[in-house]
């Protein structure tokens, strides 16, 4: 590249990511009447059903359970979609990768940005839920900003690693989607940590990285502080994850196109 044009090159990449992601979303809802708001509708149906069924099974007060469930489920879907999307990021962009000399992270950022847009449609539901249960936002809500950024930092490296490994080993996406299913049940999304018996509970929770990743975003929205432990675990996952990602990326960068 010509010197001094780095800024314009980066702007072009961002533009490409944005256009591709928006196109991905538009494609899905191209001929539908209400378009991407199907995302919001379908999640509100899911939340109401799970909320009614599990709320009564666990006998938890709706005022606590439903906001907890809504926020948790939206974050969980975001995490799951990025990991699964990451597994397909390079495989589904085969044509582009073989023809277009753009860095590989464009294809993973496309997944991240796509899911972030979906997430922003889903999160619109939260104010309504809060209003329904007359939960006023507290100052803790501001913590959602660093929390979400930290979550994105973690998901970005997971997405890259999944994309690289799944391109080479095509069995990985299957393994990951089963793991995600298990993850959904062992992570407090449809059940609350307070429902666990004391001793078993804390071990099960703290060993689960998904719990910490969800908590740094969910707790502030629900008006609580994420624990120091949540933050420390997430920051460590982020740092070690990125080191690992750089190593693996450097090693495989030149080979990815040939694996497709």
């Amino acid at each position: 590249m010509v010197k001094g044009s780095y800024k314009s090159v980066i702007l072009n990449w961002l533009n490409l990511i944005n256009i591709l992601s928006i196109n991905d979303i538009k494609n899905r809802y191209r001929r539908s009447f209400i378009g991407p708001f199907w995302i919001t509708i379908s999640i509100s149906v899911t939340i109401s059903c799970i909320g009614l069924v599990f709320g009564s099974i666990f006998g938890s007060p709706m005022k606590e359970f439903l906001p907890f469930l809504s926020v948790g489920l939206i974050i969980w879907l975001f995490i799951g979609a990025i990991i699964e999307g990451g597994c397909n990021a390079f495989v589904s962009a085969e044509e582009l990768i073989k023809q277009l000399p753009v860095p590989f992270f464009i294809h993973t950022l496309r997944v991240i940005w796509h899911q972030t847009i979906v997430f922003s449609h889903n999160i619109l539901l939260i104010p309504f839920v809060m209003l329904l249960f007359k939960k006023a936002p507290s100052l803790n809500l501001l913590l959602v900003i660093p929390g979400f950024i930290l979550l994105l930092t973690i998901l970005t490296w997971i997405c890259i690693v999944c994309a690289i490994i799944s391109t080479r080993f095509r069995d990985l996406p299957q393994i990951i989607s089963s793991l995600l299913q298990v993850g959904f049940y062992v992570t407090p999304v449809i059940w609350m940590p307070s429902m666990l018996p004391d001793r078993v509970g804390s071990t099960l929770l703290n060993a689960n990285p998904f719990y910490h990743m969800i908590e740094i975003v969910r707790a502030p929205i629900l008006g609580n502080f994420p624990t120091l432990e949540n933050w420390v675990v997430c920051i460590s996952i982020s740092i070690f994850g990125w080191i690992f990602t750089f190593l693996i990326y450097n090693k495989t960068r030149k080979h990815i196109a040939y694996w497709l």
Binding site: V9, N15, N27, E95, K98, P101, R168, R253, W259
Partner: protein, 246 residues
């Protein structure tokens, strides 16, 4: 200043789903396609390019000839930067663009207008730059009201017009082509030819792979003849074409 320099560049494409016994410990030489080989671990791979040394400088109009599977497309992909050689180095100066697959990324569900932006973004045209060229592109492909219709409603010729108009709206230093582009009906193809020639005037390096003797002799000032992933012969078009085409 535009320059592409390959130093001992090799490309080995691994094939992971063909780890059959018969291929494992033997090396085949087959008529079309590169050489198939296997490493100590028993992985099968295709030797698509082998130890290529090539320097393409300002003003070069390089033609690549060779049989199917000789490595022409792989070489073009290496030159475009999409493939990194598995061994050896590539040095590239100048902005490159490829007209190899002009319909790349065209989305049939999106409208013509949306596709202009989609394709433009892939070619590295920013929003601003594209806005300036937008009218010219639309005028050139001459699709009328169809520009706001989904591309799936287009005929094949119309699709190509659109793809061609956007893909040639750039001004790269290095241009890569796989055969000459001819699109549309008689009237449009004349227009397209002129546009392509005008684009070539401003590009510093052209690399074109072709099976057409007339094209190579007309456009190129240098030719390489590829066979089994290697350069078999290199020189001026007249000379090489005489040997290759007979």
């Amino acid at each position: 200043m535009a320059l592409i320099k390959l130093t001992n560049a090799s490309v080995q494409i691994p094939i992971y789903n063909a780890r059959s016994r018969s291929l494992k410990n033997r090396i085949f030489k087959i008529a079309t396609g590169g050489k198939l080989g296997s490493d100590q671990k028993g992985n099968v791979y295709v030797d698509a390019l082998k130890n290529l040394n090539l320097e393409i400088k300002n003003g070069d109009r390089l033609g690549i000839i060779g049989h199917n599977g000789a490595g022409k497309t792989t070489l073009l992909r290496v030159l475009s930067g999409a493939y990194h050689p598995t061994n050896g180095d590539v040095l590239q100066e100048g902005k490159s663009a490829s007209l190899i697959h002009i319909s790349l990324g065209i989305n049939p569900e999106a409208t013509g207008r949306e596709n202009v932006f989609l394709r433009g973004a892939m070619l590295g045209l920013g929003k601003k730059k594209l806005m300036n060229k937008f009218k010219e592109i639309i005028d050139f492909c001459d699709l009328g009201d169809f520009i706001d219709m989904p591309v799936r409603t287009y005929s094949t010729g119309m699709k190509l017009r659109l793809a061609f108009a956007v893909s040639t709206s750039i001004a790269p230093d290095i241009l890569l082509m796989d055969e000459w582009l001819s699109v549309g009906d008689k009237e449009f193809s004349i227009k397209a030819e002129q546009r392509l020639i005008k684009l070539l005037e401003t590009t510093k390096i052209l690399v074109i792979a072709s099976h057409s003797r007339a094209l190579i002799e007309k456009t190129c000032n240098r030719v390489i003849w590829m066979e089994n992933g290697e350069i078999k012969m290199e020189g001026n078009p007249k000379h090489i074409c005489k040997i290759y085409f007979g």
